[in-house]
């Protein structure tokens, strides 16, 4: 329920507004440290990359629409297919989930006024943007990465890929990894330390648990990828021999390192979706989540066990049988925390009073695809089955059900769900439901037949196929499905863009949702909360007397913290009051550091090592200047 501000609050609100307001116009966006504005920057950038990845997907499906098709040649197909994978994983899902949703929502959900390190947050965004542009620069000069998103050696080694394509891959992803690591650390510290007093760990919203698990996984999963990328780039540019069998290296080393990253990555992609589901479900079924504690533990456990299963991507490379069996067993174990969550979502819906409005529909679609994709995924733990189907379209079918159907559906549902909060206007309900059904149908049509063509033996990553293999009709259905899917996604965008201008005013909490982001106005003011909210459960908006306490405190000027950019910090476990933090205000330095780093990576790409080192030194000087501005001077 929304409670109007009392007249006595006005002077406080004006004062907070004056303190937290940022510069207007373009300059404001370039120097912003406001987590909401950075979240929006992430959102639109990731959406642009989603569109690019979508166009690549449509190119793939158009090429495979008929046998011996000639829309794109084999060389272009390799680039398009590789860029589709890189774009969707590194430039869309992770930045959209953590960068956009996480940035916008996590501080609001825990009752904080910003992220723990606001300027680092800005730096993360600018590096993400620059790394995406760097990788796409390869596309525009015709040297896009072309060895698949997991970039196996020896195909990716200098001998077989002499062009700069793979250098764009290595350097672009190392650059991108800096951004993601910084963001992950920022989320962990924010969730540990910036929760409103009273929000002990057993009152943390489940979405924040999911983002905490994702961030912890990223901190430990990205280094193996970065090490592998550094090894490959050293092999390629300095003539080292990490992956070169002739000189004592080992190509399988790449596979190990890549998948030590790559499998946790799968959970990194899907955990935010789990988190969004646990926000949308309680709201639209009008009850608390079943088994809060088990779900929270399961979210963290999924991220943890995800580190022990990587070799199930390598069952066909000839590892020792004992290794293979151990990893198969570990892969079965991970079903348990996933199952706990699945049952909890379903039981919450069944025991509540569900209203199937647009956001909940996307979550139902998510549960369907997660179940189907999860079941086909567990099947891969059966080693002979895996060996039989490796590199067929069955794998493509499985991971698109999981990564598109399960990971992206909640992101789309979340766009509808938080649209009123971010814009202050309602989306169009009928059109929203239509966009769901269109996308749902398109997803099924595109990816379900891939199971069958996979079982029939169609290999993945091939730019075409011969007629008369029994694959033709199914491929046609898949391609039609891809266009239906694209139409569904276009309808989502149309709905949200039109609603931005024509939607009915939403009010603070149009869905009577339970978490703190709904306690503030829509869109939220720069300072997020006029009063640091009181919290006594994971569903603070359903604790009406706490909200009345907020109003009383605002009237009396308590817990307003209006001496500067202030937000409280609390202890990690119990969220006991610790102290008041002075937060930095807008700063041009993150953008400057990102620019210097961009120059470093461009120079490395063109093999100008001395110039690159010079720019790194400039970057270090800018970092020193940045930190000469201390919080008490802000």
């Amino acid at each position: 329920m929304a409670i109007a501000h009392p007249p006595a609050a006005e002077p406080h609100l004006e004062r907070l507004e004056r303190i937290w307001e940022e510069r207007p116009g373009l300059l404001g966006w370039l120097t912003t440290v406001d987590h909401k504005r950075i979240g929006l920057l992430y959102f639109f950038t990731a959406l642009a990359f989603f569109a690019a990845g979508g166009v690549e997907a449509l190119m793939i499906r158009t090429q495979l629409l008929a046998p011996n098709n000639g829309v794109v040649g084999p060389g272009t197909f390799d680039q398009v297919m590789t860029m589709h994978g890189i774009t969707m994983i590194f430039l869309f899902v992770i930045p959209m989930a953590t960068g956009a949703f996480g940035n916008y929502l996590v501080p609001l959900m825990i009752g904080a006024r910003d992220m723990a390190f606001p300027r680092l947050n800005a730096l993360s965004y600018w590096i993400f943007l620059a790394s995406g542009l760097l990788i796409y620069a390869g596309v525009f000069i015709g040297y896009a990465p072309n060895a698949g998103w997991f970039d196996y050696v020896p195909l990716a080694s200098k001998q077989f890929s002499p062009g700069p394509n793979i250098d764009f891959y290595c350097l672009g992803l190392i650059f991108n990894g800096i951004s993601t690591t910084a963001a992950a650390i920022n989320f962990i510290v924010t969730i540990f330390k910036l929760r409103a007093p009273g929000m002990s760990l057993n009152r943390l919203p489940l979405l924040c648990y999911a983002f905490l698990a994702v961030s912890l996984a990223l901190v430990f999963a990205l280094p193996p990828l970065n090490a592998a990328l550094i090894f490959l780039e050293l092999d390629r540019s300095l003539g080292m021999h990490f992956f070169d069998l002739v000189h004592g290296g080992d190509p399988v080393l790449w596979q190990h390192l890549f998948w030590i990253f790559g499998h946790p990555e799968v959970y990194i992609i899907i955990l935010p979706a789990f988190g969004i589901a646990t926000s949308i479900i309680p709201t639209f079924v009008r009850r608390r989540m079943v088994a809060y504690a088990l779900v929270a533990l399961a979210e963290v456990l999924v991220a943890f066990i995800g580190f022990g299963v990587w070799a199930h991507h390598m069952f066909s490379v000839g590892l020792a049988t004992i290794t293979t069996v151990a990893f198969a067993a570990a892969s079965l174990v991970i079903v348990i925390p996933s199952g706990i969550q699945l049952f909890a979502w379903i039981m919450t819906i069944l025991t509540g009073r569900p209203q199937f409005r647009t956001p909940l529909l996307w979550i139902v679609g998510f549960i369907v695809f997660f179940l189907l994709g999860g079941l086909s995924g567990v099947a891969f733990a059966a080693i002979p089955f895996d060996q039989q189907l490796t590199d067929t379209y069955f794998v493509v079918a499985h991971f698109h059900f999981v990564i598109f159907g399960a990971a992206v559906f909640p992101i789309l549902g979340g766009m509808y769900f938080w649209f009123p909060k971010v814009t202050g206007r309602m989306y169009h309900e009928r059109l929203g439901q239509a966009s769901f059904w269109l996308t749902f149908t398109g997803t099924g049509l595109t990816f379900f037949p891939m199971h069958i063509v996979g079982l029939l033996g169609m290999p993945r990553r091939q730019y075409t196929y011969a007629p008369g293999m029994g694959w033709t009709g199914l491929n046609l259905i898949e391609s039609i499905g891809a266009y239906v899917l694209a139409a569904g996604l276009a309808l989502v965008v149309v709905n949200l863009v039109v609603s931005l201008f024509r939607g009915a005013p939403a009010g603070d909490n149009p869905f009577a949702a339970p978490t703190l982001e709904w306690s503030t106005s829509s869109p939220p003011p720069p300072y997020n909360f006029p009063v640091i909210p009181r919290v006594s459960s994971p569903y603070p908006m359903w604790d009406v007397d706490d909200r009345l306490v907020d109003v009383r405190q605002l009237t009396e000027g308590e817990m307003v913290l209006e001496e500067g950019h202030e937000t409280p910090t609390t202890s990690v476990l119990d969220a006991d009051w610790d102290e008041v933090l002075d937060m930095p205000s807008e700063s041009p330095w993150p953008l400057a550091v990102a620019a210097a780093l961009t120059a470093v990576f461009v120079m490395l790409l063109t093999k100008q090592v001395i110039v690159a080192a010079t720019f790194a030194a400039v970057g270090a000087l800018v970092v020193a200047r940045w930190h000469a501005q201390e919080p008490q001077q802000a």
């Binding site: 510290v189 280094p223 193996p224 090490a227 592998a228 021999h241 004592g248």
Partner: protein, 206 residues
């Protein structure tokens, strides 16, 4: 709620010391550094694992005609690096007690030791380069990459020291005291790292 501390506003020695005394849980800056160390530890975990992976795959280690590394100098140097943790710890103590000048001097001593360490390491790095070169085989690849990554981390620590030495003369603030603390934490990590790296580097000679 009346005894709210605003630690960032402690801009004198006494105020900094008071904050350090009253603090009940780790500040966000400490958490940031702790997590940075965690991710760097994972990076070095990968580098060290790669070393042993390649070693297990190779019938002879180090491969043909590369002399096993000599023990004396690397071990002595690592001893020096670990010893520099002592002045870092003293600098931290002085800073938390609100005494800027002793903190500055302890940092300067630590920086001197660390710079000498890095210079000697780089010297032996380049003489190894002359001896057997980067391009020879998988052993030289991981050997130079592992050492290079370690030296880069020492360099980052030296830059942090330099920043502190430039800032401390204009007085102690809570922000700077915290910076001393997390820089000391970083150097403890680099000392452990240096020990693990040298143990691995000398593995063929044990």
């Amino acid at each position: 709620m009346n005894e709210v501390t605003r630690s960032a506003r402690a801009t004198s020695g006494e105020a900094v010391a008071r904050v350090a005394r009253l603090r009940r849980s780790q500040p966000i800056g400490w958490w940031g550094m702790a997590l940075f160390i965690a991710t760097e530890a994972a990076l070095f975990g990968t580098l060290l694992s790669t070393y042993y992976y390649l070693r297990l795959k190779s019938p002879v280690w180090p491969p043909d005609h590369i002399p096993a590394p000599s023990m004396a100098l690397p071990l002595a140097l690592t001893g020096v690096l670990v010893a520099s943790a002592l002045p870092m710890a003293l600098a931290n103590r002085a800073a938390q007690a609100g005494r800027a000048a002793p903190a500055w001097w302890a940092l300067a001593v630590a920086l001197g030791i660390q710079c000498a360490y890095l210079a000697l390491q780089l010297h032996s790095f380049s003489s190894d380069l002359d001896k057997f070169g980067l391009h020879r085989d998988a052993y030289t690849s991981i050997y130079f990459t592992l050492l290079g990554a370690h030296h880069l981390h020492v360099l980052i620590g030296i830059l942090l020291d330099g920043w502190l030495l430039a800032r401390l003369p204009s007085g102690l603030t809570n922000y700077r005291a915290l910076a001393v603390r997390v820089t000391a934490l970083y150097w403890y990590f680099v000392s452990v790292l240096g020990t693990l790296v040298v143990v691995t580097q000398l593995a063929p000679s044990w």
